[in-house]
Amino acid sequence: MKKPEVIVIGGGVTGTVAALTLAEAGASVMLIDEGVNAGSGANAGSLHVQMQSRFMRLYPDQVPNVEAALPFYRMAAEEWVRLDKDLGGIELVRKGGLMLAETEEQLAFLSKKAEREAAQGLSVEILNREALDRIAPWLGLQIIGAELCRDEGKLNPLIANRLLGARAAAVGVRRLAGRVTALRPTPQGIELETAHETLTADKVVVAAAWGAGALVHGFGVSLPTKAEPLHMNITEPGAPVINHLVQHAERSITLKQFSTGQIVIGGGWPATTAGWSAPPTVISGSMLQNVALAAHLAPAISNLRVIRTWAGMNTTIDGASVIGPLPASDRIVMAVPGDAGYTLGPLVGRIAAQLAMGDMGEIDVGRFSPARFAT
């Protein structure tokens, strides 16, 4: 039997894992990537599992989608643990994530949230200040408690991306630099238009993040993928003391320490887009407020210096992932992770690849079907 020809569009974490899964399953795989603004190249490597307060605040209408997907997040974190072993070390640490409260109201909010999350099978616990002092003594004195989610963790995305790319190449995935401008069904398969040539494939996996909506426009779905430029900061190295992924019950922040000793500060502060093909630009307000908030929550880090900021492109949809074939053509399989897309990426990529090969897999992803955006 002839090997199926599969083209994966998008070379971020999702597309790379999809491509290598397909190649391992015996397909002949080409990965096409435009090479600009991959969220995977800019992200902070937080393994998110508990519901992020930032997200709940910004997109309240999407919270039910996220809540229902909580078990999927836990599975996604497990997928990374497997990859960590498989790839030979991506500096994955899973000591849990702390969501901090400074007021009684915030703590009450976290307690309710923890109950909902426990119901979905997450390992969560509310800690008082005394308990926090034992595991995170560097926290500001105003912190009265926190929610600990043991499923959370962190990894080094620079290493993970490099090793995943190498693995894909090793199993025979061919890489092509370029932008796919259109998809066309033909009786034999799918035609893909790029600036230089027309390619054909038996199946196509769309892992193009913010670029996905435009690609499948006209295939009976209207996918609301949006590019969201976000800001990050990193410091020089310090003694390794921060073990957890740190967030706040009300304010936008993620803070953690890499194995390099550097502290990475982010949490969804905005950047501005500088045109289609250029990376986004840093805005002063985001840098000042994001770092000041970090210093407020963890005053001990104040004597470190920030050495770099950057901005990268996140993708938003409706909170949930989009996984599975298009209603109009089962030759086109979507692989776009929902909120906290780096956490979800490998699991989403693997499942989409299995679906493309006709393998229904062990996880039911019906709720993530693109059919929910049918026009």
Binding site: G165, T235, E236, P240, P279, S284, A295, A300, I301, W310
Partner: protein, 553 residues
């Protein structure tokens, strides 16, 4: 004048008044200031706050640059460890300062001072920010204690005096770290945050030195020629007794003579380029366009020989090794013969890199100058960039020398003041004519030297390229396997350029390596993407800046 006493890793050290920590430690015979994550030793390298290799801990505060810190009485200084402990104290910073001058000048060297004077004389309110504690910049390098060594320092002292009497507000020891759209600038002065929203801004940030990357160039005792010059001219500290100076260009000879006069032995001045005698036509063209400077060059070489110095042309440093307390420097001459000499200090300067971070951040258009091996910024006749209200003068635009920087400063200062509503840009005809002459001389001077950047292919694979991340050429080459389309991709794959100095030295090499593999010509976008902060900035200082901005709005 009283001396200061402080301790360094428990040992008592005496500092002359006004000395930097780096100078005082050098005088006391210390040259290892920190150890790296890979247990390598580091000390002074750039001498001007760029390389971040001279870090020490002062009174419990890690990450302080010894070259930019004043030695003061009673300080407790320790070598910096790779992963310093957090201080555990809450953020504290002085009250922030907000400025809104007509003209903000960034950089207090030849170009910046001249620009500020012109603008202030036209009636504009001028604030000048300078990173150094003492104004004058690299060319006019002023002594911390006010002693004037020679004519060059006297000219500088006159310029600084003129700036003061013109009414410029000079803020020294100020490090600018942020430049944002609509001419918003952020800086720190010690603990204090500074926020400036000027009507116009003149960038005059100068250049830093291009090193000779060879195995051993990160050892303590190997430093840029400018670093040794600053130690001597600003602080009367001799970097060592026996020196080798290498690379290419007129600064090496000048500093060799200065240090020899100060009592050092120049065991070797190795100039990469062949002797000018072998290229009489070029030498004659240079001499015609700048007879006085050409003569000065000749005299310096005679002086150096009289002082016992050895000059070799067509000779290049190929490696440095630790040899007891000394350094063994190996040279190769153009005929391929090698020899090794023992010295205390190896100085290097193989050209310059413009400090164009602010300009690149703000989106100023640039082109690549292959002869100099660096970017040049586009300005109009008024020295204005393509960003309205933003001017650029001097070496930060691409190397041009101090005399040209002065004239460009006068032009920019006059126009910036006029744009802010003070005076009209009067007839600058004679200044422009003089500037044309300076540029002609420069264009004929550099062909006598050999400053084209070395190709990676010509370097041994174990040469450290990224000082901060301690990456060798080989480490970086592994990232080329995936055919990165951009230096940023190579950076993410290998960490090249991710350290404290933000790719000041490895960046140009990485850009060239990527250009070689992609076959694309080098341009502005080939280099690492410019991002804030331009220099590392303390979290406490950002905290203070945020408060200041919040209070305003």
């Amino acid at each position: 004048m009283t001396d200061n006493r402080f301790t360094f890793d428990g040992q008592s050290v005496t500092a002359k008044r006004g000395q930097s920590l780096a100078a005082a430690l050098t005088d006391a015979g210390h040259r290892t200031f920190r150890t790296t994550a890979k247990s390598a030793e580091r000390g002074i390298f750039c001498g001007m706050g760029v390389c971040q290799d001279c870090l020490v801990s002062i009174d419990g505060q890690p990450n302080q640059r010894a070259c930019m810190s004043l030695a003061s009485d009673g300080m407790t200084v320790t070598r910096q460890v790779p992963f310093p402990a957090f201080s555990g104290t809450a953020a504290k910073a002085g009250a922030p300062l907000t400025l809104a001058p007509d003209v903000l000048v960034i950089g207090g060297g030849a170009g910046g001072l001249s620009a500020g004077i012109a603008a202030a004389r036209a009636g504009a309110d001028v604030v000048l920010l300078d990173e150094r504690k003492v104004s004058g910049g690299q060319y006019y390098k002023q002594a911390a204690d006010g002693v004037v060594l020679d004519g060059q320092q006297r000219d500088g002292a006159d310029l600084v005096a003129a700036a003061k009497s013109a009414g410029i507000t000079i803020l020294s020891g100020v490090e600018l770290w942020g430049a944002f759209d609509d001419l918003l600038f952020m800086a720190q002065q010690g603990d204090r945050a500074i926020i400036a929203r000027p009507k116009t801004a003149i960038v005059a940030t100068g250049a830093y030195e291009r090193p000779v990357m060879v195995p051993g160039w990160t050892l303590p005792g190997v430093m840029t020629t400018g670093a040794a010059q600053t130690l001597w001219r600003s602080y009367q500290s001799l970097a060592g007794k026996r020196l080798a100076i290498c690379g290419s260009g007129p600064l090496n000879l000048q500093v060799a003579v200065e240090l020899a006069r100060g009592g050092a032995t120049i065991v070797r001045l190795a100039e990469r380029a062949a002797h000018p005698v072998t290229r009489p036509l070029q030498a004659a063209r240079m001499a015609v366009s700048g007879p006085a400077l050409a003569m000065k060059g000749l005299k310096m070489e005679w002086a150096l020989r009289r002082l016992g110095g050895t000059v070799r042309y067509g000779s290049d440093l190929i490696g440095v090794a630790q040899c007891g307390n000394a350094l063994a420097a190996t040279f190769q001459s153009s005929d391929g013969t090698r020899d090794t000499i023992e010295v205390d200090v190896v100085c290097m300067n193989a050209g310059f890199e413009p400090q164009n971070e602010i300009l690149r951040l703000l989106g100023v258009s640039m082109h690549y100058d292959p002869a100099m091996g660096h970017l040049r910024c586009h300005t109009d006749d008024a020295m204005q960039t393509n960003i309205r209200g933003l001017y650029a003068v001097g070496d930060c635009k691409g190397l041009g020398g101090a005399p040209a920087a002065c004239d460009e400063g006068v032009i920019a200062g006059t126009h910036a003041a006029a744009a802010a509503g003070f005076g009209d840009a009067y007839d600058l005809h004679s200044v422009r004519r003089r500037l044309t002459g300076h540029r002609r001389f420069q264009s004929r001077l550099w062909p006598l030297y050999d400053i084209a950047p070395r190709q990676a292919a010509d370097m041994p694979s174990d040469t450290i390229i990224c000082r901060c991340e301690e990456l060798t050429l080989d480490d970086i080459r592994t990232g080329l396997d995936d055919k990165p389309g951009h230096a940023g991709t190579l950076k993410r794959a290998t960490r090249v350029g991710m350290g404290r100095c933000q790719g000041r030295y490895c960046g140009p090499v990485a850009a060239r390596m990527v250009a070689e593999t992609t076959g694309k010509p080098i341009e502005n976008l080939s280099f690492f993407a410019p991002r804030v902060p331009i220099k590392p900035v303390a979290i406490s200082s950002i905290f203070a800046a945020e408060e200041a901005v919040r209070e305003k709005t």
